[in-house]
């Protein structure tokens, strides 16, 4: 926030409520434990020791949508899965965000065919798209950082 430096060690920080709330939200986003296909493997790799998503406060994967803030759509979304995906999204409490991880989730990638939803943005609103098939863990971390940036700049009224 920068306010600490300005004020020195006076024990008082002045800032706007919005900044504090967004700072808190961005610092501890809980993703939903929800993998679809290949990208889920890279998502687990990001959570595991080598890349360690807990550096961004995102290590706590919740299996229940009711406890999650972030849905990482990791993999291809089929037409059979789309209603389920939407239902999971609807069960998540506000505020909530969606990362579309990988080419298949973003635009169905190499599979331009009958079985897949051509981009998960037709089913749920997407905040961050990540390219790659599958994206490397570094790319997913970059997506996390982009999402944090977005969350920090949000207006409270959006979720009010």
């Amino acid at each position: 926030m920068g306010a600490e430096q300005k004020l020195g060690n006076m024990g008082v920080v002045t800032t706007s409520l919005e900044t504090v709330v967004n700072w808190g939200r961005a610092g501890a986003i809980w993703p939903m434990l929800f993998g679809l296909a290949c990208c889920a493997m890279e998502m687990i790799a990001t959570q595991a020791g080598t890349y360690d998503a807990s550096r961004f406060g995102m290590e706590l994967m919740r299996a229940s949508p009711r406890q999650a803030d972030l849905m990482i759509v990791a993999g291809r979304v089929t037409r059979k899965m789309a209603p389920v995906l939407r239902r999971l999204y609807d069960q998540m409490p506000d505020p909530k965000w969606v990362i579309s991880m990988g080419d298949c989730a973003s635009c169905s990638g190499v599979f331009n065919n009958y079985a897949l939803v051509q981009g998960v943005d037709e089913v749920v609103p997407v905040d961050v798209y990540i390219a790659g098939c599958p994206p490397r863990p570094e790319a997913l971390i970059d997506g996390f950082l982009k999402l944090h940036e977005k969350v920090r700049g949000e207006k409270l009224a959006r979720w009010a």
């Binding site: 909530k96 635009c107 009958y114 051509q118 037709e122």
Partner: protein, 173 residues
Amino acid sequence: MSHLERTISALQERFPHGVLGKAEFRGDITLQIDSASLVAVCRYLRDEPALGYNVLVDIGAVDYSPQEPRFALFYIVYALVQNTRLRLKVLLPGAEPVAPSISGIWPSANWPEREAFDMMGIGFEGHPDLRRILMPADWEGHPHRKDYPLGYEEVQFTFNKREIDARKKYATS
């Protein structure tokens, strides 16, 4: 004489009308079986101690459209002890293709037959649970048939990005 040759001669002897032909391609032998005697042939293959085909490896359906008979089912059976593989082929007509189910002989035929039903629209008489398996239950058509369109959505490039964005139904929260 190899086990495969013994099997083929035993089958030809026992089912003179059931075995319609024998073809060899790239070292694999395919026996064409009449669909009416498929169950009897399979039962014989499994139960005859000298043959011992105890594993059904796979059932694959092929659409030869526009040829007639249009569909073919390939059954790959395997004798574990003798380490021998045999391929059976059953031709089915384009209109109302129905084959007898062999899930009573090898239970592992259950899902592959459901898959052939779902994807190719081939019916299996006597199947205990013939429902769609991969596609949603209310899906129309059988996707792996040649006359079923692959499905294609226009790809967005710079020149048509706005145009497609305008008509694409994006989700809202």
